[in-house]
Amino acid sequence: MSTPTASRPGTQGSGTDMLSGEAATAMATLRRGVELSPELAKGLGLTIVFAVVATLGRVLVPIAVQQAVDRGIDAPGGPDAGFVTAMVAVTAAGVVLTGISSALMTARLFRAAEHGLATLRTKAFRHVHDLPILTQNTERRGSLVSRVTSDVDQVSQFLVFGGVIAIVSVGQILVATVVMLVYSWELTILVWLCFLPLFLSLRYFQRRLSQAYATVRRQVGALLSAVSEPVVGAAVVRSYAVEARTQERIDEAVDRHLDASSRAQALTAFSFSLGGVSAGLANAGVIVLGVLLLGDGMTPGTILAFAFLVTLFVGPVQMGTQVLTDAQNAFAGWRRVIGILDTPADVVDPGASGTRLPEGPLEITFDRVTFAYPGGPPVLHEVELTLPPMTRVAVVGETGSGKTTLAKLLTRLMDPVEGAVRLGGVELREVPFDQLRERVVLVPQEGFLFDSTLRANLRYGRTGADDAELLAAVDELGLRDWLEGLPRGLDSRVGQRGESLSAGERQLVALVRARLADPDVLVLDEATSAVDPSLEMRINAALDRLTEGRTSVTIAHRMTTAERADLVVVVDKGRVVQQGTHAELVGEGGVYGRLHASWVAQHEPRVDREG
């Protein structure tokens, strides 16, 4: 369900926004869609041939009936069994051929559509991982998921169900009309006159139905929300004894959903019934006009053939509104998926044409780096910074000072607006991703875990690492006893998003991953969540071992981290204002002196009380 989220100006500038592709026409969408999924067009010619044969076959039986009546059963010289038998044999062969064509058409359509759309989904999924919105605009992740799931499903549904129906329906009407014209132009016009109002009103009904079902969908959203309250809010509902009120609210949502659904259903039923009524009118007209025209080339067989041909009109009219709605939704979904793929990735992999990083320890330099989120004010101003290799660096600053941005630029989650970040003298934009990710690793605040085993999660650090390598990494960080304390060791399931582990344990997993990745440069965003003291000590010990012998840049949230660092970089309002060791900076005063003083002051009461 979509909850109306207030749009936040400044965070969604042009660069972070996805192209919605709303403006694209159906033709343009189709063209671009086929370009992205070439499988859709592969072998389409043959599929169309089968479709034509399958559609043509639908008029075989009405023609057969006419022929059998006029030239066989009701033949002027008495019934002609020989003729009817021969004709039946030919038609039967035709019916079988039609069936085979129809089977081939459907199978080919399914294969082409599903292969094309699987490709589209996968491409879109890959591309989403390159889009900055994924890491910058977290509340829109849900909509990104629907781009690669329900939006594509809708296109698929339409192409293989609606698409077949649409092709066959239009073909059916055309072929029936041509056959009718061959028999009698007068009756053809009559039939068309009977169905015309209905064809013209299809759009109207489709619009009304779309509105009705949009209301239903909104009510489904409200219903799901209401129904979830006694489950998700079980404790609150009981502790405030508001069971009756909660039930009332659910009942209201249930009733509103029932009303909306019933109304939409009534409209559907009505629009569906009109096809049959038109067919009745057409049949009556055909009989009357046909009988009046008898003799002028009109035969009883022709009149009967028309009665059969009219039934070919009913189906398409009845399915018409549905197909139109499906088509509209499918094209809207298709446009959204294409919009994702047509949104350029901000950070581009130079690939093979890039420059390899030099071997050995890497020096980090920020050369007049300025950064601003699209449409926002600069977050970093002309930052000049050189971090020597094999140092433990702590970046310190208040919330909003720009220190996290520094980390994101250093790991190339984003590129600077001006200036350059260099590693061993090579500009980051030039470094191929596969090498960059090998040598520079970010350990985020929240250790995100995937719903799998601990083993699979650790392997995110190094694909294909075997158990011995995993255990070696665990040992190296001094975490063997922690691992052995878990009920099933490496086979432990971590649950959705790692919920079976505590926040601190998830951080440990992130550290082991980083150890496995074994980078030259480690960028750590320190966690802020409260962790039990014993685990806190473990994390610190593991961190010490992990950073040993590497260049590490820590976005510090703990003053003790700054104390232990070889070099402290102080960021304030987007500028680097101080650099040096903890001792030097405390002596220097300035921003760091102020932060330190405030930290000491807040610890004092405890010192006093404990005396």
């Binding site: 066989g72 039967a92 599903e114 006694p230 405030y240 019933s262 049959g276 049949n283 009665a307 989650l413």
Partner: protein, 615 residues
């Protein structure tokens, strides 16, 4: 993300519609028919009339052939009366048939929606009636799908039901018609119908397991996308995009191949189902010409039977649709039933609320508790969460529960509210055992502010009053105490702003402040806060606590806390470890005499100060 996200893959099902499924499926339908007899009757009459008129159409055509077309052709004179009658019959049949379609489709829909609505009300009633302990035994996702997808699955066969009943009626009428027209031709028809039904059943047998699999795969694919996008930072920073794409592509290919296989099944069966009646018509013509030749039947009868075959064969599919829904329906119905059949609601006593206006006196005596299903790694019953816990809070006093993660603090808070009953010992409010209080009484005396603020899909006012008769000034006052008046005033519609599902538009701290205001507006005699200010910054928390202490009403307060500032405000601390009380007394005394306590509280404090200074 949302309740709808709680879909789970369908359970494995028998690939064939077994006899028991068939019987059970009809039993489920019978339940619906008994509950909605009138709508069922209306839609079934619609369907039967529709069937009858479809047959009548063929009869009118045959009649017109014999009485209008052939005489006009043979005699050259148009029989005007008969012509008008035929035309009128065509139009009349069409109009009535239109009406019957409306009755059938509308009725089928309404019957289905009403059954869903009925079950949703019943299931949620049950959720509200059963105790929290029952909820804790069932995963949230399961309960949500019981009320949503299971209910929908259970009543899915109602949509094609009237059509199926009508089809059966139509088939009977058509067969009778055929028998009356010509015995020999009718035999041909009688061969076509069973063949169509049989092909349909075979089709469903191949198709439904594939479609079930497709549904499950879609859910799995969506789960991968969700997880992968949520973990984007990890994926990106460790350069795992290719592996993630492979993981997604693997599932997408499986989904594609399964859908294509389902498509192939359809590609084979659809033409068969369409060709059968066509071939039947041809046989009728071939046999018919011989019969007309020998004078045993009229041309009109041949046309009539041929037409009947064409129009009746198509709706026969609805029988297949009906039977095809049975396996899912039966499983859904059973799951819904299992919720509705649950017993074991909490038992209450007759006692009224204790008298008194000031703070309540809370006594916890020898309380022990363990989660019923908890087992340790050896499969033995797990350790007790609470063991022999005893303490008393005098009226108007504030007690802080302190302990490391999993020390039993939150469990104790739920016991104080009788959300769950202890296994041993008693908890008493003003000397009355909580178990003796009448339903709803405790809520008039006490209020709980849980760790995770829960907001209803309602307005700000509705979320605070929860329907209680409280004036706006009291609501604002509670908001002021909770330091939430500022942001609420800034909302577009103030107290009337709708918060949407679980207040998704608010920050964690804002949600907690609303949750706190909800408790305060009730002026409870006992206030229990389970780490209820964790998402609020310390300065705001200090103001909240100060406001609480200066409140006119001298509530008894129990607070689960991590922050030293919060703990410092308590008159007394109860220090828990491993489910037992290890120490008890004023904060500063514990700090000096209990090193474990000092270490824990100071460690949290260090993290806290750092966060404050460095953000």
């Amino acid at each position: 993300m949302t309740a709808a996200g709680a879909e789970r893959p369908a359970p494995p099902m028998h690939s064939r519609t077994t006899h028991s499924t068939l019987r059970e499926g009809f039993a489920v339908l019978w339940v619906a028919i008994k509950r909605e007899p009138w709508v069922f009757t209306l839609s079934t009459i619609g369907a039967v009339v529709f069937g009858a008129l479809t047959v009548a159409d063929a009869w009118v055509l045959g009649w017109a052939t014999d009485h209008v077309i052939v005489p006009a052709q043979d005699e050259g004179v148009t029989p005007t009366g008969a012509l008008i009658t035929a035309a009128a019959m065509f139009v009349g049949v069409a109009v009535v048939r239109g009406a019957s379609i409306v009755a059938r489709r509308w009725g089928a829909g309404v019957m289905q929606y009403r059954m869903q609505a009925h079950d949703r009300r019943a299931v949620t009633r049950q959720y509200l009636r059963l105790p929290l302990a029952w909820h804790q035994r069932h995963p949230t996702g399961e309960l949500l799908s019981n009320a949503n997808s299971d209910v929908e699955a259970a009543w899915a066969p109602i949509a094609p039901l009237p059509m199926a009943v009508g089809t059966v009626a139509m088939m009977v009428i058509a067969v009778v018609q055929m028998l009356l027209s010509d015995l020999v031709l009718a035999v041909v028809g009688l061969m076509v119908f069973p063949l169509v039904i049989l092909s349909n059943l075979v089709f469903q047998r191949f198709q439904s397991p594939l479609m079930t699999r497709v549904q499950a795969l879609r859910a799995e694919l969506s789960e991968i996308a969700h997880e992968s996008f949520d973990g984007a930072l990890v994926v990106k920073s460790l350069g795992r995009e290719t592996e993630e794409t492979e993981r997604f592509a693997d599932k997408a290919s499986t989904l594609r191949d399964t859908t294509v296989r389902a498509g192939f099944v359809r590609a084979v069966f659809d033409p068969v189902l369409e060709a059968l009646p066509s071939l039947g018509v041809l046989v009728v013509l071939a046999v018919g010409v011989a019969r007309v030749e020998s004078g045993s039947t009229a041309a009109g009868d041949v046309v009539n039977v041929a037409y009947l075959l064409m129009v009746v064969a198509f709706p026969i599919r609805s029988l297949g649709w009906l039977l095809g829904e049975f396996p899912r329906s039966v499983v859904g119905f059973r799951r819904v039933r299992s919720v509705l059949d649950e017993h074991g609601e909490m038992q209450y006593g007759p006692e009224p609320a204790p008298a008194g206006s000031g703070g309540a006196r809370l006594e916890v005596r020898h309380v022990g508790f363990r989660y019923p299903d908890a087992v340790d790694e050896h499969g033995e019953p797990g350790a007790a969460v609470l063991d022999d816990v005893t303490f008393t809070v005098e009226p108007g006093r504030t007690v802080a529960l302190v302990g490391a993660t999993a020390a039993g603090k939150s469990t104790l808070a739920t016991l104080l509210f009788r959300l769950v009953d202890p296994d041993r010992g008693t908890i008493a409010l003003d000397g009355r055992d909580l178990r003796d209080l009448a339903p709803g009484t405790l809520a008039t005396q006490a209020a709980l502010v849980p760790q995770q603020a829960f907001l209803f899909d309602d307005t700000v006012r509705g979320n605070i009053t929860l329907g209680a008769d409280v004036g706006d000034d009291e609501v604002w006052e509670a908001l002021r105490t909770a330091q939430g008046d500022g942001f609420v005033a800034a909302l577009p519609d103030g107290l009337d702003t709708r918060l949407g599902e679980r207040g998704a538009t608010l920050s964690g701290g804002q949600r907690q402040r609303l949750s706190l205001a909800r408790a305060l507006v009730r002026r409870p005699r006992l206030l229990v806060m389970d780490d209820a200010t964790s998402a609020v910054d310390p300065e705001v928390e200090a103001r909240i606590l100060a406001a609480l202490r200066s409140g006119a009403r001298d509530s008894t307060v129990v607070v689960v806390a991590y922050r030293k500032a919060t703990i410092g405000l308590a008159d007394e601390v109860v220090f828990l470890a491993g489910g037992r009380i290890v120490d008890q007394g004023p904060h500063h005394e514990l700090l000096t005499r209990n090193p474990a306590y000092a270490e824990l509280v100071n460690a949290y404090e260090d993290q806290q100060v750092d966060e404050e200074v460095l953000g």
